[in-house]
Symmetry: C2
Subunit: 457 residues, 2 copies
Amino acid sequence: MPETKIPYKIYLNENELPKQWYNLRADMKNKPAPLLNPGTGEPMKPEELEAVFCSELVKQELDNTTPYIDIPDEIYNFYKMYRPSPLVRAYFLEKKLGTPAKIYYKFEGNNTSGSHKLNSAIAQAYYAKKQGLKGVTTETGAGQWGTALSMACSFFDLDCKVFMVKVSYEQKPFRREVMRTYGASVTPSPSTETEVGKKILAAHPGTTGSLGCAISEAVEVAVKSEGYRYVLGSVLNQVLLHQSVIGLETKTALDKYGIKPDIIIGCAGGGSNLGGLIAPFMGEKLRGEADYRIIAVEPASCPSLTRGVYAYDFCDTGMVCPLAKMYTLGSDFIPSANHAGGLRYHGMSSILSQLYDDKLMEATSVKQTDVFEAAELFARVEGILPAPESSHAIRVAIDEALKCKETGEEKTIVFGLTGTGYFDMVAYEKFHDGQMSDYIPTDDELAAYRAKLPKIG
Amino acid sequence: MPETKIPYKIYLNENELPKQWYNLRADMKNKPAPLLNPGTGEPMKPEELEAVFCSELVKQELDNTTPYIDIPDEIYNFYKMYRPSPLVRAYFLEKKLGTPAKIYYKFEGNNTSGSHKLNSAIAQAYYAKKQGLKGVTTETGAGQWGTALSMACSFFDLDCKVFMVKVSYEQKPFRREVMRTYGASVTPSPSTETEVGKKILAAHPGTTGSLGCAISEAVEVAVKSEGYRYVLGSVLNQVLLHQSVIGLETKTALDKYGIKPDIIIGCAGGGSNLGGLIAPFMGEKLRGEADYRIIAVEPASCPSLTRGVYAYDFCDTGMVCPLAKMYTLGSDFIPSANHAGGLRYHGMSSILSQLYDDKLMEATSVKQTDVFEAAELFARVEGILPAPESSHAIRVAIDEALKCKETGEEKTIVFGLTGTGYFDMVAYEKFHDGQMSDYIPTDDELAAYRAKLPKIG
């Protein structure tokens, strides 16, 4: 091992945990486009949003100007249970690759939800409790968000109703059981508990569900139940706000050792992890204080940034949510059944979409067998079995490090390791057994979905 | 939350990681009894042990006098990947219980093996590699040890053959898949790959296996294969030596904040975690420098300390291993099929057995539904879903804290949280569904097993 003063893991002290979230929108010249009412095509008014979302979260959703927002004590104390999370120097990975690059990863998987999702779940549960609500509803796909929300709701003694994409519900009984341990009720989606679920089941009997469909069900239940609101684990501005703790801690840790990254890499599905990780760095970039290459990595089988269009679209299949302007593949898009790597959402956070459109960040897509190859290599040398989602970022970090090996450049690469893959062993098994394909949607397929985009905005 | 200077998590700096293991035996007046050759009844000679174990590990196994043994650089660097592990102040648990007690836990679950087992796995793999071996064999029950060893072997590029108790192999496909990710081969035990496996299958067709049986198979393969040795994750002196890093870090962290524990609690199956956690504290006790209450917690369904006898016994079902003097239930003992909480081994580490016999520590047993009740409470307030094994210690820590609530005493309680329960959700499911019983062996049953103990020593 190289002798160096930089430890394997940089753990901040508890008092270095950020006391405020950073609201990147305050520094954006081109603000993310507002949510629109699908009926009128007009920007959603706060009171309209408050029928679905908690009031304080609506404020945060619409606040494009306040750069820093205090983290309430109750949330801060909860954060202390599992944060600050470590920034790890990947010495063993560097050695294995034989690269002169210096690789760091911010590891968010050391908590029972297994991912960064808890950062926003606890915030959303707190504001729901503060508003005097009885409970919240949500959807979950792979299950990280549902697990995180059930933990958060249990902590604040809130009821938690989770609609879980049916295929995941059946294939991931352990995730379901973790949610039950935290007292959440978990319903496979589509279900007969909602009008939209019944409609989808009638139109597509035997469907194994999708995120867009589960969102519609969760929203319907929230709107129809006294004392409930809907919460969402990604895509929204408020979520990226909460997730800025990831980037703020990362920056504090790097600054402490005088490290300046050249490249920052994150996986991107709805954008919660990437948006959080890059927030303070993108802020510097927007203010002209520093420059970084920022790379969003998405699955080749669900390529919203790299092959989607920047347009207003529905956030859900049932079209009950407001319209959002984002890079999208169309709200009907569902990745190939063989896709095992998460990041399945058809659209991308409005904030990230705008930044990408403004060419402030790059995007690339990777094939899933390449992702799992990187995952297995990483697991073996760094000792952490990564989530398939996170492994998209690992893949590109390795590729960039290998480019450095060719050129001899000693670039500093930072990537987000959003979580662990302990509940994704079925996907690993497919990979080991050679049963994983790399299906990529054709241009014609994508065009067909695109043709169905709403004509608004 | 109380205002205090003690953080939620005490993370030592990397340079505070112990550079030496502590060999508790050096401070024991009554040394643990030697391993005996089952044929001759004489103490095993080093050369006899070296047919089964790595040479350097045999030295460590037999060394009753050297108090500190250097941790080789290669192991030390690996430790840095996931150590020092946090010592956590359980503020939220204290609040929930309303106790004046101060509760701390040393959390060993933040690594992909999910438990403390990695501390010894990496050491054993290192010495095997150093000896120029091709590979190692072992057994695993619940799977933590097998996972840890597969990670360690992958790191040093050693072949790893794991015999996994058949019932676990079938019920825990994810554990198996993690081992495969690290390149290990996993065979359900009993198997037809060994003579002892064939014999057991012939005598008990349809058996779902046991740890004792898997040990016999692993030892047979090690002895018969050129360039292989057998390694074990618990019970042995060498394992407790390696696990002393847990206790050493705990003591350093406590000393840093001037905290002196009153009670130290650990779960005990074979004794690896408890032996490691208590090592430096027991050392002080043995040297008369300090006093602590030390409590071993075992399942009521597998009560080797509380209801076993202190005698020489076989370590395995096939009787191919040396005899060890230990608190034992008899090498044929297998806990009730309903037992879901790990800690299934019929005997206890010779070191801990001697200390217990010398009344230097206490032991207690707990029923499994009480254990899972504690586990769920802990998961909800402390945010970590614990392993069933660790939850035995949680149960008793809670009970001791509740006693403090009655008496008003502000005792300081430290317990070992050995791991996470992410691969144990089937057991949690049983608990949630009310399908968990508390079967406890009768005195007659235990007497029948005891009658079969060898008449040696």
